[in-house]
């Protein structure tokens, strides 16, 4: 079961990272939170300490996705879970990231104001990826998708992953 959870965590986290980039153009909440972050702001998300992190970076008012990296440098904010099972609860649509944050299941290294921005973005991205029922539960209201789940997944599959130095 652990291996299955690990695989799901890895796939969903990658999908979330890619969706950060895709939804920047269409989702007003993401645009607003992106504006709150400083230029060149770089964030790393991982399922637990020491696991590879997906990297997203703000450049020219857009998110760029850098894929998975081991021990990346020049990171402004790192977010990871105390244990991979906690990550699975969030990435497997059992619990919202806000609840996980409140329950001390998340470790954050960096400025907490910016972390809150990223948590809002993460929450919206999850709402796009997950079922209507889960989306409403974590967002707290019936939200309007500006792009369908299928479109998002297809675009995510073909998204260009930035290479080279972060």
């Amino acid at each position: 079961m652990k291996k299955l959870h690990h695989l799901i965590d890895k796939l969903i986290l990658s999908l979330i990272g890619r969706s950060f980039t895709i939804l920047t153009d269409t989702e007003p909440i993401i645009k607003r939170e992106l504006a709150y972050l400083p230029d060149e702001f770089t964030a790393a998300f991982a399922v637990e300490e020491g696991a590879p992190s997906i990297i997203v970076k703000k450049e020219n008012n857009r998110f760029k996705y850098f894929g998975y990296h081991y021990e990346p440098n020049n990171i402004d904010l790192r977010l990871y879970f105390k244990d991979e099972e906690f990550a699975y609860e969030v990435l497997g649509a059992k619990e919202g990231i806000r609840q996980a944050f409140s329950e001390h299941k998340i470790i954050l290294e960096g400025d907490l104001e910016y972390a809150v921005s990223l948590i809002y973005i993460f929450e919206v991205v999850e709402a796009y990826i997950m079922s209507e029922k889960f989306s409403e539960k974590i967002i707290g209201y019936k939200f309007k998708r500006n792009i369908s789940r299928l479109q998002l997944i297809i675009r995510a599959l073909f998204l260009y992953r930035e290479k080279g130095e972060i």
């Binding site: 619990e95 944050f101 470790i107 400025d111 972390a115």
Partner: protein, 396 residues
């Protein structure tokens, strides 16, 4: 709303409270293997002879003047933390004593982080649970009964170079010992006693309604509320009353333990934002916002249930029984409003944001700041910008 049965609760601080609590200090320093502490305080506490009171309780041969830093500012800063850390290293100190309020305690927490984690730049440790090393022995002697910092796992430290406020949240920041002696808080005047008491009241109320509310933090919050209900108004009427002062000091530390574990919520988030954007006092902002934040929370079932406990704590069993089930939460809010009104008539604590100097044209910035305060994530419901704006309008 999603609810979970998972919680974490951590409170390792040893608390010594009451008359002659300071007399145990030498014994406790020995127990913690501290022979050369660095003492942090400020000029006012020195002038009020509070520092002298502390020193009179320490072995004379253990302290030289260089071990005492009396220049801690009203807000903890990276710069003062760095300077004090250097002093700690130069003098080869082996423990920290913070004598004062939140800024002094936060400065001490910053020093402990820098020394224990051996970092050059404290900014590297900003965030949640970033510290892993064994910490230096850390003793807090609070002089205001409100902040609960003596039992809290947070520190807020200003970085003046980047004009940002850095937050540090870690179980490693909790002191080893809190000595709560009434002789150290007697000098607080009625207005400040009221304001700091309301701060403790907010901590206890918010601990009840955060997303991480749990049976253990509820127990501390309930006990704190009971003491606040029985003692705050009486203490404001007679600030030198030892019994009420000790009770409020205990209430503050219990409220601190509860909200440290179940987190603050919307009242703190908006209050902090008012403080940062409009430069108003933390205590005044919380006094004004408390009833409005509670009214906002009434729309959530679990908050209404929690507020029933607040009614028992503040008004007693008889009032609880005679109040209908549907009305209990609202009557609990009214009980809080009644405490605030009485404190206003006794000391003039504010009831509107306008009164404390917040301007309507600052609302957008306050909303933005509050929405990015991590406390907002722990608040009931998914708070949005409109919710905060409505609270600000109602409190204006």
């Amino acid at each position: 709303m999603y609810s979970s049965d998972y919680f974490e609760f951590f409170s390792p601080v040893k608390i010594i409270s009451g008359e002659h609590a300071l007399s145990t200090l030498n014994y406790e320093l020995d127990r913690l293997h501290v022979s050369k502490p660095l003492i942090l305080t400020n000029q006012s506490l020195d002038e009020m002879k509070i520092l002298d009171t502390l020193l009179s309780h320490l072995k004379n041969d253990s302290i030289n003047q260089r071990q005492i830093i009396k220049t801690i500012p009203n807000q903890a800063t990276i710069e003062i933390v760095k300077k004090a850390s250097q002093r700690y290293k130069d003098l080869e100190c082996d423990g920290i004593i913070a004598l004062g309020g939140e800024a002094i305690i936060d400065t001490a927490k910053g020093i402990n982080l820098m020394i224990s984690e051996q970092v050059e730049d404290l900014k590297d440790l900003a965030g949640i649970e970033t510290a892993h090393a064994d910490m230096q022995p850390f003793i807090v002697i609070p002089t205001t009964s409100s902040t609960g910092s003596e039992a809290a796992l947070t520190a807020v430290i200003n970085d003046e170079s980047s004009k940002r406020v850095l937050e540090f949240i870690s179980s490693k920041l909790i002191p080893d010992l809190a000595v709560i002696d009434p002789t150290m808080t007697f000098s607080l005047p009625p207005r400040l006693t009221a304001s700091t008491g309301v701060d403790a009241l907010v901590h206890a109320v918010e601990a009840y309604t955060g997303l991480q509310t749990n049976p253990l933090s509820d127990a501390y919050a309930f006990a704190a509320l009971k003491l606040i209900g029985q003692n705050l108004r009486e203490l404001v009427k007679d600030v030198n009353n030892k019994k009420h002062r000790v009770a409020m000091n205990n209430a503050a530390v219990m409220a601190g333990i509860s909200f440290s574990n179940s987190h603050a919520g919307i009242i703190h988030a908006v209050g902090d934002a008012c403080e940062k954007i409009a430069g108003v006092s933390h205590g005044d902002a919380l006094s004004v916002l408390l009833p409005h934040g509670m009214f906002y929370n009434l729309k959530f079932d679990y908050c209404r249930n929690s507020y029933q406990d607040i009614l028992i704590a503040l008004e007693g069993r008889d009032k609880f029984i005679e109040t209908g089930l549907e009305d209990r939460a609202l009557i609990a809010v009214n009980a809080v409003v009644s405490i605030l009104n009485e404190l206003r008539s006794l000391t003039g604590i504010p009831v509107t944001l306008k009164e404390i100097g917040v301007k309507r044209n600052q609302f957008d910035d306050i909303v933005d700041k509050a929405m990015h305060n991590s406390a907002i994530l722990n608040s009931a419901g998914q708070v949005n910008r409109e919710d905060i704006k409505n609270i600000l309008e109602a409190a204006f």
